[in-house]
Amino acid sequence: MPKKPAVDPALKGVLQEFSRTYRRKRAAVLEGYDFEALRTRLAAVKDAALDRNAELLARFEERARAHGSVVLRARDGAEANAAILGICREHKIDALAKAKSMVSEETGLNAYLAAHGVTARETDLGEWIVQLASERPTHMVMPAIHMTRGDVAALFSRRLGREIPDDIPALVRIARGEMRKEIFAAQAGLTGANALIAESGAIMVVTNEGNGRLVTTVPPVHIVLASIEKVVPSTAEALDILRILPRNATGQSITSYVSFIAGPHTTAQYVILLDNHRSEMAADPVFRAALRCVKCSACLNVCPVYQLLGGEEYSHIYMGGIGTLFTAWIHGLDKSKALAKYCLRCHRCEGFCAAKIPIADLITALAERLNRETGKTPWKRLAFDGVMGRPKLQQAAFKAARTARKALGTKDGFARRLPAWMKKYDRFRALPAPAAMTFARRFEKERGTAGAAARPAKGAVTIYGGCLIEHFYPEIGLAAARVLARLGYEVKPGPDLCCGFPPSNAGYRQASGRAFKALLRAFEGEGPVVTLCPTCATMLARRGPEIDGSDEAKALAARIVPFGRFIAERELAAVAGRPTPAGLAVTYHDSCHHKNVLAAEKDSRRAIASALGAPVVEMDEPDACCGFAGTFCVDNPEISAGLLADKLAAIEKTGAGVVAMDCPGCLMQIRGGCRRSGLAVRAAHTAELLDEALTPSGL
């Protein structure tokens, strides 16, 4: 287990506010632009440049030399640091002024130089403050985001030996004076590069403060430390990066300063091209996509876990989900293991990524690698390799759980007596007890009332419940069956087997493949397969076919329709129920896979609005993860509890009496959270609301 994360409420507040402001500014600056087209273009540009990486680097090197620059190659961080120290020795440099360079954080340059008598001073205000405080940046674009103006004033007061007021413009003015002195005292300036332009041997540096310009013009020597994936063929591709980077990073149409620099301005320019395992990453067909990253930080800005933990906890050097991937390759698999558990796999970041990097799926691929190369977690090995991957054992395990209902003290569907080891999972949300009978069994038993259409005229529909519906919430399956039967479909339940998603997400690909295969074999018939769990739908429509690769898997994938979408696309008018009783407002929680993978969030809202005769009342951050996230809430109960608390607060603020959702996992989390916290709001599946709206005695 990773060490217990410290959720600092003040930091959380700052990060959440930053995230809201960021999304507002970004949306405004992207108005009138086709973001999808921009990022599709950037992804293609970066992929093409990666294909030609060696050739482009050689071209860059040749052109930079023609300008009089010295180009050095560094295989790893140690070589890069040694090269920079060599330059310092050659030019008798004892003070270096730096613009922001994440790559220098990666190599640990400042500490290395300090140990060899060279002072490296940061000049980006945030980095300068963090360095003054002897801390590490906690955000790629906003390094000092974890500090308040009070913290900064106290720091300046200590350093300058006089009382400095906590007024931001005054603090910036003081820093301006101090940093300018340091820049004029430095004998060399060091920058990173946002792009290396092969055709001209120029670098592109993007800053807001102007420190990039100062450190490249005032000190006589300029050192560029850049990683090899930054190279692009020409100015046009550098502008493709510039077109999206500031807009996506800070919601600016462009930063205050962008410099294209070719060659040494006075004494010398050195360009150090750092590999540090990026060539290996580029050669990996799966992980190479991460090298498209332009370090805009959009993924961090919208990551629910990052906002809770901050970048100090959720980083090795690079932060968040994308940082976890770089950590695995650059700093070693062992360093990425604790970080990989922090990813919810909610896919929210993917909607914002400037380069269309499938971050969540790459974290899953990393989980597979971690299992393979660093060993498996015992309980997951038992649950996934041992049980879920073996259909017979899987069913036996659920059967055994059903027999424990009495021992669990089941009441109102909740387990009231749990074993001691489960207490930390039960503290912040009441856990449900297994249902007495599966959905499939109850459907058979209640066939007359549940699934039989008066006159089935519209063909057959299979309802696939998935584990949570089958074993915990069969009533949701029955509700969906009643709705579809009433609309004239011939309804039957699908196999009561696991789809294979949980093992897949935890990196147990083989067990997942076995579970999926067994389900695939058990599926019969034709016609739509309506799903009641977006995570199962993600498995059946997307990941299962990827793992399995068979024609049968593809054929099943084509049949998958989430319940909300089925209604919205075919039966919107037919579900129009009676007007909502006065005072009954319904709010809606976006389940991660439902919105971020299946893009079905509007469908469900439309279906509910039609059935209830009124639109849902939107909550703050409807798409913020509720904290369930499968095994995530077992690995990280504290974070899960934190995310749930925010979700419950957002629900309560709407004043709605019902919160609807499409995922039984979210339902488990939110219903249990309402129960535990005493919030008098009913959590319901969309299918339940539609069933009640269409039933004469309902609602």
Binding site: V14, E17, F18, T21, R63, A66, H67, T123, D124, L125, G126, I129, M142, P143, A144, I145, M147, T148, R149, V152, I168, P169, L171, V172, A175, R176, M179, R180, K181, F184, I197, E199, S200, A202, N208, E209, G210, N211, R213, L214, T217, V218, T235, A236, L239, T250, S253, I254, S256, Y257, V258, S259, F260, I261, A262, G263, P264, H265, T266, Q269
Partner: protein
């Protein structure tokens, strides 16, 4: 909206101030601005100083920081292009003195010819590439400057003038 109006709007959004003057009045406008705003020390970029009527009007001004002093009140510069999409000034640098005149002063005054305003950066890709490819001058550089120097590093609050100018005045002539 025409290209010039769009440029003005976007430059203002980025925090720049824009003054439209007749071309023959630009030098006088700048001299007057320096006086009115009590900007005592000023430097002028070498490319503008070589250009009439600025050569005569600012004959007394130096083109660089003389004795290694850290501060100067005003810098007077000229841009090669304006970008309407973002309100950006483009300068093809040929020397450090040019770059410093843009960056070191507290106030930067920039002359821009309205005929040099283009809709988007993509319109001048060949010019940028050609300048960066030059080997006849030391360190060809292309600078894009949009509004004053800014930071949001303390509490995400926008604050101007952290390293470069706190005021950027675009003199559209």
């Amino acid at each position: 909206m025409d290209t010039i109006d769009r440029f003005i709007e976007k430059a203002k959004v980025a925090g720049a101030e824009v003054a439209r003057v007749d071309a023959i009045c630009a030098a006088a406008f700048i001299a007057d601005f320096l006086k009115k705003n009590n900007l005592k020390t000023a430097i002028i970029s070498p490319d503008l100083k070589a250009r009439p009527p600025f050569d005569a009007a600012f004959a007394a001004l130096g083109t660089g920081l003389a004795g290694g002093e850290l501060w100067v009140d005003a810098g007077i510069v000229a841009a090669d292009y304006g970008i309407a999409e973002t309100g950006t000034l483009v300068h093809f640098d040929r020397s450090d003195d040019e770059k410093n005149a843009w960056t070191l002063p507290d106030v930067c005054l920039c002359v821009l010819d309205t005929v040099k305003i283009v809709p988007a950066l993509e319109a001048i890709v060949p010019e940028i590439s050609a300048h960066l490819g030059r080997t006849d001058i030391a360190s060809p550089q292309v600078s894009l400057v949009t509004g004053p120097s800014r930071t949001a590093d303390v509490e995400n609050q926008l604050t101007i003038g952290v390293h470069g100018p706190a005021r950027l005045i675009i003199v559209l002539a």
